[in-house]
Symmetry: C2
Subunit: 185 residues, 2 copies
């Protein structure tokens, strides 16, 4: 049976989870699919496009707060579940950070937050900036955390990890307090 885009995506995610981003090469993926490297380029224009698809499928796991949630409730919940999703995939934070930065694919996981903030009366441009703040904060901390975990696993550094979930919660709390103070909501 012929390969589908979905088959390629599924196998790419499998390689990512099992061996990590460094081992997710087009050649390795092709081998895992029992196909020649060139075959992948019929399904995806290039590696970036494939990585964008993998990232999208990871970000789709983050639960949407829905349109009726309270912004100050949804903000920490969203950030913490984004963190969990990123940590659930090997190199999830690294992959997502670069994909989001390079604006590959859809990849606007902060969109629900923007809507909630706007509904709460924050001007659109500010809502956008606030949601981005929360996103970068979460991505950055997850990136630190995941690479530290990797360094510990490799025995490069010792494992006296600060509690990163608390750290993220604190950062998000500061932002939320700032939003309340600045926009009076």
């Amino acid at each position: 049976m012929a390969l589908s885009r979905a088959d390629v995506l599924a196998k790419a995610l499998e390689i990512l989870d099992t061996y990590g981003l460094a081992d997710l090469t087009m050649r390795r993926l092709a081998t895992a699919l029992a196909v020649q490297p060139g075959a992948l380029y019929w399904h995806y224009a290039n590696k970036q496009e494939l990585l964008a698809a993998v990232t999208d499928s990871i970000l789709a796991e983050v639960p949407d707060p829905g349109p009726d949630a309270a912004w100050n409730d949804a903000l920490p919940t969203w950030a913490l579940s984004l963190r969990s999703v990123l940590l659930a995939h090997r190199d999830g934070a690294e992959l997502t950070s670069s994909a989001v930065a390079l604006s590959l694919g859809t990849l606007r996981p902060q969109e629900p937050l923007v809507r909630l903030l706007s509904s709460a009366g924050v001007p659109p441009a500010d809502a956008e900036a606030i949601a981005e703040t929360a996103l970068h904060l979460t991505l950055g901390l997850a990136l630190d955390e995941q690479s530290r975990a990797q360094a510990v696993a490799l025995g490069v550094i010792g494992g006296d990890a600060p509690d990163d979930q608390d750290r993220l919660a604190l950062g998000i709390d500061l932002v939320a307090r700032g939003v309340s103070a600045r926009f009076g909501i």
Copy 2:
């Protein structure tokens, strides 16, 4: 004359600024130094170590607020000058983000902030978390901004950029307000 570590570093920075991170390869660097690729490994153990050195030299450009600055003054100043420094080097944000995340080298540019916050009465662990929040926020926005600028330059997307300096200023302001509210300073 024999190559020094400093010579290699200087040429690496030159290639970065002129051609970008993708072109900063050990082989290209060796060629630019009129030397065989293997020669570089006498001066730097590997590419990561070299990139850490490059990042350190970039981050050294960020002015230190000094121990007597007011935290709420130093916070936005520091963030904005970090942003300027990152944007002043081609792919500066990308390089720094990954170097900071991978904990290469010294690379704790947020250290002055941690000290200022501690002096102002914030508990050390919280001061650390706050400074990291500011760092990730700045890195994340600079990364977005720089990759967007690159996409515009390549003609991939149109150039209706939001003002990123204002965006960073807003995010930092939210964090500062949050710190005031939460720690009563």
